[in-house]
């Protein structure tokens, strides 16, 4: 059995440190699954390439083929890694707009690993104070460790940061990956509800049977 993990990245630059973190978290989850004898594949959803389509979809309800494939990748994945840059103390607008397109219960019960990037470590709590409530609302099952990477975390070697004693990025990514895999294996494959099955038969509704 191969698990499917969707990696959503809302980085705006090319190349993007948000994408780097997303890849890092994806690799950590993959390595952990491999170590436990499981197979998995990552599917990266890069929101930057669909920014215009996401805006138009919110205005008109019409999704491009690419966007509609991306939303179904995320809602059908067995686990989701969601990574955003932190702007003005919270996730980016693009990140939120994408999740606004997903159906009401579509991530309920889905294991999610959160990651965020910013220019300075001063934004680190945004991942817990802003991103985590969004996924609480969506009733996703969020891994306890969320990984925040400031620009200088990408320059840290294998020891704790000298200024705040936080474990280095690689170590935090591995811990987060382990936690996500714990949740994923505990819950198993996601069973996706077919939207077209979401109705009550009229026999039942009108009490004729």
């Amino acid at each position: 059995m191969t698990y499917r993990i969707a990696v959503v990245t809302a980085g705006l630059r090319e190349p993007s440190s948000t994408r780097l973190l997303a890849d890092r978290l994806g690799e950590a989850a993959l390595a952990e699954l491999t170590a436990r004898g499981e197979k998995a594949e990552l599917e990266v959803v890069d929101l930057r390439t669909m920014a215009g389509a996401i805006t138009n979809a919110l205005i008109t309800g019409v999704q491009t083929t690419e966007l509609s494939a991306a939303t179904s990748t995320v809602v059908s994945a067995d686990a989701v890694i969601a990574v955003s840059p932190i702007f003005s103390g919270s996730y980016s607008g693009l990140f939120k707009m994408f999740f606004d397109l997903l159906g009401d219960d579509s991530l309920a019960g889905t294991p999610v690993l959160l990651g965020a990037t910013a220019g300075t470590p001063r934004h680190s709590l945004a991942v817990d104070h802003a991103m985590r409530p969004l996924f609480a609302y969506l009733r996703a099952v969020v891994a306890p460790t969320a990984v925040f990477a400031a620009t200088d975390d990408f320059g840290q070697a294998g020891q704790a940061r000298s200024d705040d004693d936080v474990a280095p990025l690689g170590q935090r990514a591995r811990r987060a990956g382990r936690e996500l895999v714990d949740l994923l294996l505990a819950r198993g494959r996601k069973v996706v509800k077919d939207e077209l099955d979401d109705f009550t038969s009229f026999d039942e509704l009108l009490g004729h049977s």
Binding site: V62, E195, F199
Partner: protein, 388 residues
């Protein structure tokens, strides 16, 4: 196969002149458009219902009755009738009345409405949208079929000994379509009753439309109304034409770019690729719409949105000329090719009367006079009894 137009009754500024028509001008324009639709050989004119600006059409039966008086052949319908916030009793009365005045040239399309505040304005709660559609339609269905209704439900006061008048013309209720874009519950509702299902796909890709129609067809067969390919399906559409297709794009783009709902969003090119909107020559419209049945099967009704986004009346009338003279005749031919004989046409008043075994007078004659509620005979008896 029926072809027609539907209007949402929006009052929108013409972006090329900056001028917004008055309500009165727009109302008169829609009447002219309906008459034109009949003149160019279309089968159906359908009018929306809204209860907020920029729309004028709060009273569809008034408008449709006025149009009925000035037309002879075209079927008058709705797009849509709000089954959620209207009292089903009033729908039963109003549309039976319209049916009599229009000589049976009436059907309806039920919809839930997509303007949140309309629910509280009419004393309802949007969270009950589906439940209202289910209960209200179940009552409406009975009011047209049972002379005396005793009923109790969740959303309106109970009815005891209620007779909705006038009774449906010739004893045959108007045919009903159920419009829904993304609620399987409404496709199920249409299937349960053996009613029509209309997918107004003007903002949707054809793959989604195909799924919804397939669900309706499957459930139609499940409820024993016929085979799946005998279910009654309608689709929306939207076109703008010029014999030179580049000129069509040049003329329509200013309206598209700032149109209500989809304006300021996707490009005209993206939107035409993703939705049924077709801007080009009449032949391009024919080619595009001829492919619809490959996705949804042979269907019964195709309605086009022609008059929104501030397009001036003169332009709309010219569009209708092209639609009626060039597009619809060609599509009628296309759709006739290979259409299995058992696939029915959309029901009309005449076909429903025939299916019911002929017309009958459905009048419910009251036993008593309308002042005292007592029978004239009974009161005479009383007089006899009390007068020595």
């Amino acid at each position: 196969m029926q072809f027609g137009i539907f209007t949402v009754s929006d009052i929108t500024a013409d972006p090329t002149t900056g001028r917004t028509p008055t309500e009165h001008e727009r109302i008169q324009a829609v009447v002219a458009i309906a008459k034109k639709a009949e003149e160019v050989g279309l089968d159906v004119f359908a009018l929306g219902e809204h209860h907020n600006p920029p729309f004028f059409s709060s009273s569809p039966t008034t408008t449709l009755a006025y149009i009925a008086a000035q037309t002879e052949r075209i079927i008058l319908s709705t797009a849509t009738t709000l089954i959620t916030t209207n009292d089903p009793v009033k729908i039963a009365e109003d549309y039976a009345m319209l049916q009599h005045l229009a000589g049976g040239r009436v059907d309806l399309m039920m919809g839930r409405g997509n303007t949140g505040p309309v629910y509280p304005w009419f004393g309802q709660d949007i969270r009950n949208g589906i439940a209202l559609a289910v209960e209200n339609y179940a009552l409406l269905h009975r009011l047209w079929r049972e002379d005396v209704v005793n009923w109790e439900g969740k959303f309106r006061t109970p009815l005891q000994s209620f007779t909705s008048t006038p009774r449906p013309l010739d004893g045959v209720p108007p045919f009903v379509w159920h419009g829904s874009i993304r609620s399987p519950q409404i496709a199920e509702q249409a299937a349960y009753y053996g009613d029509g299902f209309f997918h107004n796909n003007i903002f949707w890709n054809i793959e989604h439309t195909a799924q919804m129609v397939a669900l309706y067809r499957e459930r139609f067969e499940h409820y024993g109304h016929g085979k799946a390919d005998e279910a009654i399906v309608g689709l929306g559409g939207q076109v703008y034409m010029h014999k030179d297709s580049q000129q069509a794009v040049r003329e329509f783009r200013p309206y598209f770019d700032v149109a209500p709902v989809y304006g300021h969003g996707p490009s005209l090119e993206d939107f035409t690729a993703q939705t049924p909107l077709t801007v080009g020559s009449p032949q391009e419209v024919v080619d595009r719409y001829a492919t619809m049945r490959e996705h949804v099967g042979d269907y019964q009704r195709q309605l086009f949105l022609m008059d929104h986004a501030g397009l001036p009346l003169a332009t709309v009338l010219k569009q209708l000329d092209m639609l009626g003279e060039e597009v619809v005749p060609a599509l009628r031919k296309e759709f006739a090719v290979g259409r299995p004989a058992h696939v029915p046409e959309a029901p009309t008043h005449a076909s429903l009367v025939a299916a019911a075994g002929g017309s009958r007078d459905a009048t419910v004659y009251a036993e008593g006079d309308d002042v005292t509620g007592a029978s004239p005979d009974a009161s005479r008896d009383d007089e006899v009894a009390v007068t020595p």
